[in-house]
Amino acid sequence: MSADVTLHAVSKTFGTARAPALTGVSLQVSAGSCTAILGPSGSGKSTILRVIAGLDEVSGGLVLIDGADVAGVAAEKRGVGMVFQRPLLFPHLSVLDNVAFSQRVGGASRTESRRHARHFLDLVQLGDFGARSVQALSGGQEQRVAIARALAAAPGVLLLDEPFSALDPALREDMHELLDDIRQAVSPTIILVTHDRDEAAAVADQIAVLQGGDLLQHDTVDRLYNRPDSLRVSRLMGGLNEVAGVVEAGVHVSPIGRVPLSAGTPDGPGVLVIRHEAIEVSPCTEAEAPRSGVIGHVSRVRRYGPRRMVSVTFGDGVVLQAALPPGEAVRDGCRVALTLPPAAVCVVPLSAAPR
């Protein structure tokens, strides 16, 4: 019971707002997969979910669910489930009756709808909570019930609008595991909106990066981290290293040195980007640079979770950031060799936007 979702050049403008919330967004999410829509606040993430759900009409473009244009199809007939950041459990109904709501409004008897609901409460591991009032639940439990309620309607597509952002980190990890369990049990197509790239990477197969109503890139998690299309995507994915230079015959030439690239990179000006986690830092050394490496001086070392983040300065004041493995450290001012594995190096077009 999962459905393909396709957005074709969808745009949306709210009322008299000058800036459109979405501009020509095209997105394809295949049945049973999980895509995270990642972007800063106000980037139009939630608007995408609302137009898929039918809560807002598109201003232009098409929304297709399982290949069928759903323009004019009411929200209650789209076969889409949605969980908001607030659980929005109906306060006048018990936990079980909340989960049974979709069956009840669908015409099932009270007994039948409750029997159906129990199965979904079990699925979110709250089987014993049915008789409770929703006020007696904790934040994490509320969100579990909200998910069970959405799943009980047997949606082909499950939309999650920052459902875990109000939970503390430990609870959030529990919820990520729950999402995995749900995907195995009922495999709906999931589209999750988040502003947390770690969350996106933890739960999704693919990530769609959105900024200012533009869909910048929709790709696998690995490719978004290691093969961003643009500087904007690299920055939104938390990339710290950008070195402007020129590609000549498969080598990026810049003040930091000559960095070999993977095959197929076209010649011309371009910005080298590489994840700080992908750079290998040698101990203090007087040796020459390795084949796919460069030589610089450590200018700063700071703590970065369990690791240390090293700033390495090159001629012309270019700085590369590299994360050391946990427990390792280097001295300030030390001469080090950085290895930039070709598989992790990527060249993106120069962008006019200043950092």
């Binding site: 606040s41 306060p91 006020q135």
Partner: protein, 296 residues
Amino acid sequence: MTPPVARTGRMRLPGDPGSTLTLSRGSGRLVRVVSTVLIAGWFLLPLAPLMVWAFANQWSFPALLPTEWGFEGLGSAIGQGALPALGASLTLSLVVAAIATPIGAMAARALTFGAVPWPRTVSVALLAPIALPPFAAVMGLNVLILRASIPPAAGLVLVLVVMAIPYTTFTMRVAYAAHDIRYEEEARILGASRWSVLWRVQLPLVAPALARAAFLAFLVGWSDYVVTVVVGGGEIVTLPLVTASLAAGIGNDAAVAILSLSAIVPPLALLALAGLAGRRPDRASSSAAPSIGERR
């Protein structure tokens, strides 16, 4: 980024049930109890002479208490048409409440969710019936109603409904301001038709406010005198009319006391009912809080 969150995952705020900040202790508690007793006394004291008068067959000056107890007042009140008047009052007030409450709710919803152009102007216009002296408005309206040959009973209901709508609208506006429209969006996504959303989600969520609004509208009809006299044209005789005409005479003190007391009972009974209807099985404060969230 996130405010401090308890282990339950939900923020605790001062003023939440169970918060020690709202517990009264020591002298604060004493002040609270004393002031409660004083306020209760302020409301109940005027009732005491009424209670005594109601059952006084004879009470001549300077006796401290009635010189003869009995039920003559009751008989006299019934003889003056108290029972049909009570029925007329109840019917009129219930009809006013039944019409003004849904209209007020719809107006409040439209005003709250931005379906109305110039909401401020419209709000002021809605308030106008309260601000205008009723006598002035009613005298003018009465001419209109007579010219339009609207039957007095219908005209009376019409005018009282207009006077009740400000109360119902503003009561419901407060309720809708705290009402999260996403409950209804969630219900629709779960497959509920518009009718089901209204019946199974919206009405239960605003039910306590509806009860309050209906109570206020009931009171507008229940306590009205001027409109009933002028627009009703003597055709509809309600409890205030009978009470006033008896009070204007001499020697009817017991009957007036009986009528006044019986005028208190229905609103009190309704208040108790509304209080019961407004109570949720559990504390609902946490989920009834309005949320301010980004929309996109």
